[in-house]
Every structure is written in structure tokens, then in C-alpha cells.
Amino acid sequence: MSDNGLIRLQDVHFTYLGRRALFTGIDLHLNAGDLLGIVGANGSGKTTLLHILVGLLRPQRGTINAFGRTIQSPGDYHQLRQKIGFLFQDSEDQLFCPTVAEDVAFGPLNLGKSRAEALAIVEQTLERLGLSTLAGRISYELSGGEKRLVALATALAMQPEVLLLDEPTSGLDPRSKRELVEHLARIGGTQLIASHDMEFVRSSCRRVILLDAGRIVAEGPTDEILGVEDLMLRHGLEVPHSLVAEGAIALDHHHGAGPSHGHGHAATHERRGHT
């Protein structure tokens, strides 16, 4: 692991019971300060990969190193999850307490914080996301955008070192999406974002990995990967409209149609065969 490496998956194999193998030796490095996007079509394994990272799913083979130690036992995973904030795909699953404040306090209380400390964290976190007025509201009565931000608050209240976000923009209108992008930019730190919303990934991530059928097929700086039209189309995705508008796309990198505006290195990041 590099000096600033936070999480490293090595040769991870994973198969859902009764189905064909999804991951057959996947590697992933997440360094401190990374804003890494995982893009891929439906069923490519994005959510599974995130779930493996937090131990909700256990790989059949391979190693997970995180925060300087190898993660093996349930106790290791329990400790790991205290350092990782996870935003689930469906906010409804994440909000189960009667009020917003209680939902946000759930994590800190589990971490052994006193009520006073938990309340202070709730106040601070909600204020950070501009949600202070929602503290006493009943979670299920919130709008979709509010629910997503409150779910993010529940993850942030854990004061995590890494934030994992699973399809954070699904079901959000453009304004809520913009708000989320702004908040994530302000939050900074280390973020791993799984999404097939290319515009969102482009505006939130510096680096992306492209996943298809459980394989990392390309990896590199966001625009260099998302700008290769052929690559994107082959793996069930599209070049973000903003990139098209900027004219910064490579139509077919295999045939030398190099991308404009200096995005000509995607081919060097495309992986061949199994990873």
C-alpha cells in the first residue's frame, strides 16, 4: 500500500449464491484524498463492490487492507465501518428513526458518544448541510432530496475518514442534484462514488474506474475515461453531455481518432482481460 493508501482490495473474488462469479480477482486502491468514481451499467457490480468494502458482503477470496490493517474478522469489519460513512442507494433504507435528529444521532450513539455529544454532532452536521430546520421533522415525511441529504448527514455524523456513496443522485431532481454536488465538494476528504450518472461523476470525481460485468475495464482521470465514446458505448454508458458540448470526446481511440482538448490518454488506462 502506498503511504497515503487507505483501502486496498487485492485479488477479490465474489460470487452470489447460485449465480455465476461476479468478481474474479478485482483490485482497487483508494488513497487518502481520492475522489474516485466507479462507473458502470446496471449489474456491473458497483453496489456489490461497495458492500464488500464495508463487509456487508464477504468475498470468497482475496484480501482487504484498510487503515493499515488486514480486515478479516467480524470485529475488524465492525471497526472498519466506524471509519466509513455509507450512503445507501435508497434513502428510505437509511432513515428508520422517528425524527431526523434521532436518525442522525443513531451512529454517534452507537459509537459510544454521550447524549450531549450526540446532540452536538447532530446540530453541527445538520448545520453543515443546511438542514437545521429539519431536525424535528419526521423522516418519512421529507421530500426525496431532503431524504438524500439527511441520509448523507447520518453518514457524516459518524465522522468518517472515507465516504462511500451508492448512486447518490438516483431519484433526485436537477436542483437537488446540484445541491448534493456542492455539499460533496465542500465535504471533500476521501470519497468513493458508485454511479451511472455520468454528469454527476464528472462534477464530483477526479478519477474513475469503469466496471463491466465485475471487471475493471478502464481506470484513469475522469474526463479521459468518460470522454472515450467507443469505450463508454461498449460498456453500456454514454459520454456526459457536458463533455460532448465541450467537444472533448474521442470517437474511437482504437482507430487513432484522438480526443480533442488534450484528452488523448484514455487508451493507456484501458485494461485488457481479467483484472
Partner: protein
């Protein structure tokens, strides 16, 4: 998604009482009342419950709706008991005789039910679900039971909403229930899928919980301290319960 707690917020004396005291009072009140049999005693029980509801200062239309819902089930007793309990007939229609004993039994059950439900709404409806969960734990109810209770209540609405979505989906495809195999099969599929989806939802919620450090214990923000007024309130209600029991004993000899 969850059930709303329409009576949980307020500033009445009952809202301010410690949930543990209210839980004990509710249990102490309900258990004897469930077996008391004298009509006057039960009537007094209803009066006490009504006083508790008045003290809780709940929204009357909402309260009436809640009580009406309970009494719908009681209504079924009135449909069957008056003519199915043997005794002195007070009216006859052909082979059907409505008996005094049947009417009395239906009336007693109605009073008993309303006296208990009214008190529970006044005492426990005025506490948040998390506070009740905490009170149960304080009374040494096993943690797993507390969690099951907590999540059952919280997700009844979610399951209902899920059912609503699936029912809308089948209606949108021109489904009209009839007495046919197709209808039975459709409802069987619907119920089956509801179970599967509920299970999936439960698994996802559990995942979300353990991602936030859940270790099997439910911690809440509610901080309660047992005060003199809590002890007094529990003692008063327990005293009233005792009065009812003594009255019952005196009337039945």
C-alpha cells in the same frame, strides 16, 4: 418510512411523565380491568380512561377516529353476541332470540375494551416510540423483543405502502377481483411478493444499521429521569385500579 405518532407531541402532564412510569401504570391498569366483570365497575373504568384522555389534551377528531377504528372490531361483537349467548330473551325474530345476557356481555366487552384502549392511548400514545422502547428495556424486557416491537411498529406503514404500490400495479392492468382462480392466484402472488419485499427491506435496513455501528442495542436521544410526579401519577392510577378491584370484590361478594 413509518407510522406517524400523532399523539406523541404535546405539553400535557401525561406527555411530560416518564415513559417507564406510564408503561407500568398502563400495565397495572389493564390487567385487572381485563378480568373485572361488574358493569358499574367497568363503567367507572371508562370514566377514568376518559379523564386520562382529557388530561392528555389530544386532538379530538384524531382521537375519535382512533377510537372508532377500535370500535369497529367491537361492533362485530354486537353483531353476534346478543343472539348467540343463551339466556333470558328480550326480543325474538323467528328462530333468533336476542338475550339479556348476550347484550350485557357485548356491553361489558365494549366498556372493557374502551377503558383499556383509552388508557393506553392516553398513557403510551403520549410517548414517542423510541421512549417506549427505552422504557421496555428499563423494565428488563429482552432487547430482541424490544427491537422486534420497535421495527414492527415502524415498518407497518412501509409494508402497507408496498402493498398499495403493488395493488395499484395490478389495478392498472385491468385487474378486478372476482371469485375466480385467477383472482386467488393474483392475491397469493401479491402476498408472497409482499413477504419477499418486506424481507429485502428488512435486510437493507439492517445493513444500514450495522454500517452506523449498530451492535444489537438501540440507543436513543431520549433522556428521562424518574421524578416524584411520575411516582405519584403511577401510584394514583394504581390506587384507582385497586379501588375498582375492591368494588368488584364487594359487589360479587
Amino acid at each position: 418510512m413509518a407510522l406517524a405518532e400523532p399523539f406523541a407531541t404535546g405539553d400535557s402532564l401525561l406527555h411530560r411523565l416518564d415513559p417507564r412510569a406510564k408503561l407500568v401504570a398502563a400495565i397495572v391498569w389493564s390487567l385487572p380491568l381485563a378480568v373485572l366483570n361488574d358493569l358499574r365497575v367497568l363503567l367507572l373504568g371508562v370514566v377514568v380512561s376518559a379523564m386520562l384522555l382529557a388530561a392528555a389534551r389530544l386532538d379530538p377528531p384524531r382521537l375519535l377516529r382512533r377510537l372508532l377504528l377500535v370500535n369497529v372490531f367491537v361492533g362485530f361483537l354486537w353483531l353476534f353476541l346478543p343472539w348467540s349467548v343463551s339466556g333470558e330473551p328480550v326480543a325474538t325474530w323467528g328462530p333468533i332470540a336476542v338475550t339479556r345476557e348476550g347484550l350485557l356481555l357485548a356491553l361489558k366487552l365494549t366498556l372493557r375494551c374502551n377503558a383499556i384502549v383509552g388508557a393506553w392511548i392516553a398513557l403510551l400514545g403520549t410517548s414517542r416510540l423510541t421512549a417506549i422502547a427505552q422504557a421496555l428495556r428499563a423494565l428488563h424486557v429482552p432487547e430482541k423483543l424490544v427491537l422486534i416491537m420497535f421495527f414492527c411498529v415502524r415498518y407497518i406503514q412501509a409494508i402497507h405502502d408496498e402493498y398499495g404500490r403493488m395493488a395499484a400495479a395490478i389495478r392498472s392492468r385491468a385487474f378486478a377481483p372476482k371469485t375466480t382462480v385467477h383472482t386467488y392466484r393474483t392475491y397469493a402472488n401479491l402476498v408472497g411478493l409482499l413477504l419477499v419485499r418486506s424481507h429485502d427491506r428488512a435486510a437493507r435496513v439492517y445493513d444500514a444499521m450495522i454500517c452506523r455501528g449498530f451492535d444489537g442495542r438501540l440507543h436513543t436521544l431520549d433522556a428521562h429521569r424518574l421524578r416524584t410526579r411520575d411516582v405519584v401519577a403511577t401510584a394514583v392510577l394504581s390506587g384507582l385500579t385497586l379501588v375498582l378491584v375492591v368494588m368488584e370484590c364487594l359487589t360479587t361478594g
